[in-house]
Symmetry: C2
Subunit: 219 residues, 2 copies
DNA sequence: ATCTATATTTCGAGG
DNA sequence: CCTCGAAGTATAGAT
């Protein structure tokens, strides 16, 4: 990784055109050839960047970073205050916990959280337009399709609606009802879900972990 | 901005739990107190980060970065290879051109691009579920709702479908047809649009800029 | 290669 | 302050 602190101006021409006037910034060049330009605020987002794969053409005062699509990042260096390079070696990468996959896993283990007496038919139930997160059966023998999200938004309701439309064409399953299960559900998603006859269930991650060992406990 | 190259391990506990095993990385501390940890690849995204506003508690071998929501980033420094700090001063910020807003503006100025004889009723036509990008009238006096996107994808079709459903309940407007206008439209979006009776129009940004001065020119 | 769904998305506008 | 939609979204996984 190469770190350059410089007073520079930057121009990007690609999916849009953008310009950064002359100022002092950090230019970061990574081992994969990617380049990013950071100001002294905001942890996450660079002011400008070029994602890999890309190529750097380095001339004395101007760096041109181009990719296969013809997008170009041009960094004009006015004055360089610092320029160092380091060897990092490979990174083992991030280990995550608590995302949607785990939520789905916990709900599959305790379907009764979604409705009393619910039993799991299967996870990732395959359909022509993609797998349904969870397919359950209720106490009346009815089928229930469950869409699991970390945060329930309109997209999730639309997605579940498409699944329900499809599943209800199968006479062996119909009638199929739907549940949107998430740690948090946005008001607009609730409104749309209600309009579509989809039930919303908010699930608490920590509570669910408790249920995981207590198997089908009732409320 | 402070730049530290160090062999370190990182733990994040907040919206999820995540762990980075020991390896050499860049730790970036910005003037606003935000912290990010970068590996030697991917221009855009840090491996781990804490967005401002947040506070750093710096002990000899461990940095704790916490925010108001109680999220915590803990960086355990095993060996420090480099540690420097720089003053940047304020950044004038990015100047953009070519986004959806501008596209909408250009189409509003030249609605005939969307269909011969089209006239603009209004931009951002308000509805209960949000504003429709453009509302036009065709030569037969029919109403046309236009959703403008930079890239037309399924989401855009779904969004326009919701608008059309609503607009068609208004007897003063009905029947309302729909157009998805974008610089580029994905095949799946085209299929879904066709199924919903929505017309797809690809618009060229540079051509449109030409029309902007030539007012309602016909093809 | 393309498409889909997710993201500790971030960011900005508008109510 | 929340809510929603856009982003040069990026990124990972599946087809």
């Amino acid at each position: 990784m190469r770190l350059v602190i410089a007073r520079c101006s930057v121009d990007y021409v690609g999916r849009l055109s953008a310009h950064l006037p002359l100022a002092t910034r950090l230019v970061m060049v990574k081992a994969d050839g990617s380049v990013s330009v950071h100001a002294d605020d905001r942890a996450y987002k660079p002011l400008n960047w070029m994602s890999p794969p890309c190529r750097i053409e380095e001339a004395p005062g101007v760096w041109r970073v181009v990719n296969k699509a013809g997008e170009e990042l041009r960094i004009t260096l006015d004055e360089i205050f610092h320029d160092t390079a380091f060897e990092f070696g490979p990174d083992p990468g991030l280990q995550k916990d608590g995302v949607e996959a785990h939520l789905q896993e916990l709900l599959a283990a305790s379907p009764a959280v979604l409705g009393a007496g619910f039993t799991l038919v299967r996870r990732e139930y395959p359909t022509a337009i993609g797998p349904v997160d969870l397919l359950c059966r209720d106490t009346d023998g009815g089928t229930v399709a469950i869409e699991v999200k970390r945060r329930g938004e309109i997209d999730g309701v639309e997605q579940l609606t498409r699944y329900l439309e499809l599943l209800n064409r199968d006479p062996l399953l119909a009638p199929v009802t739907g549940i949107l299960a998430a740690q948090e559900i946005k008001p607009q998603a609730r409104v749309l879900a209600a309009d579509r006859g989809i039930r919303c269930v908010t699930v608490d991650y920590d509570t669910l972990r408790g249920f995981d060992n207590a198997d089908d406990r009732l409320f």
